[in-house]
Symmetry: C2
Subunit: 157 residues, 2 copies
């Protein structure tokens, strides 16, 4: 289904009393809608290859392993997660013993986060799978298409 040529988008609208019709808005052609679908597929690939963590949790752990340490808000900013959300993510990672936190003496507002040894080990264990997730997600595209797509996607950031 949905294989009708785009050049034709159904012209059989217009009833007479209103000029706006349902037919001139095609939900399944909208960026947001397709992105949500693509994201669903990506999520399913991710949870299959990396059942231990959610994408968000992995992002946080990966960034923390890369930087060594960061405050909670700082970590959120680095991976584009707002303050209210990062709290829950950090709590869950902390609860599982993958990261540790202690308040910073020079600024008592700050919580310094660091990956634990167990956290680092887990990250190293699954980082190969993480690369595979990206590869699998882009699998429907040719090498050239992948490059073009990533380039355009980056422009929409």
């Amino acid at each position: 289904m949905k294989k009708m040529p785009l050049s034709v988008f159904d012209t059989d609208h217009h009833v007479g009393d209103t000029m706006v019709t349902a037919a001139d808005y095609q939900l399944e052609d909208q960026v947001g809608f397709i992105m949500r679908c693509v994201n669903q597929r990506h999520l399913s690939i991710f949870s299959r290859l990396i059942p231990e963590l959610t994408p968000t949790q992995f992002s946080a752990l990966a960034k923390l392993c890369a930087t060594g340490q960061a405050s909670q808000n700082e970590l959120g900013r680095m991976i584009a997660i707002d303050a209210a959300t990062i709290k829950g993510v950090v709590d869950r990672l902390k609860h599982r013993g993958l990261i540790s936190s202690e308040s910073q003496p020079s600024d008592l507002r700050r919580l310094i986060l660091k990956p634990t040894e167990e956290g680092r080990q887990l990250f190293h264990q699954i980082s190969a799978a993480a690369r595979q997730v990206s590869e699998d997600t882009l699998k429907p595209l040719s090498e050239k298409e992948k490059h073009v797509f990533m380039n355009l996607l980056d422009k929409l950031r």
Copy 2:
């Protein structure tokens, strides 16, 4: 702070026992990560132009206006939302008087959903803004790039 050049990304890793290091995984180059960022931007555009509804609620209403009616699960399937999630979406739309539901006599399991007159009016009112959302989201791309991007995105669905 954190303004150290990326070209240097901490090379002081490597402990000796494993070959996998932190530096060879660049979070911000991964499809999933960038898609989440693009989605954030899209969401902010959407809620600015259409503060009345969330993208999911709008999808449901739009599809229901396009088809006239559908059962709850059916509606979910049409817009790629699972049964548990669509229930909440439908409940909220119903609560706001935008759609109505009645059980289908010929199959007592089914709830037949229809947009109310108010729901149809709202949809028609905001459908122009909805098109604008897509346009604004893709604004960073040229006409040619938009076409290429949508084509590739569709392949990843």
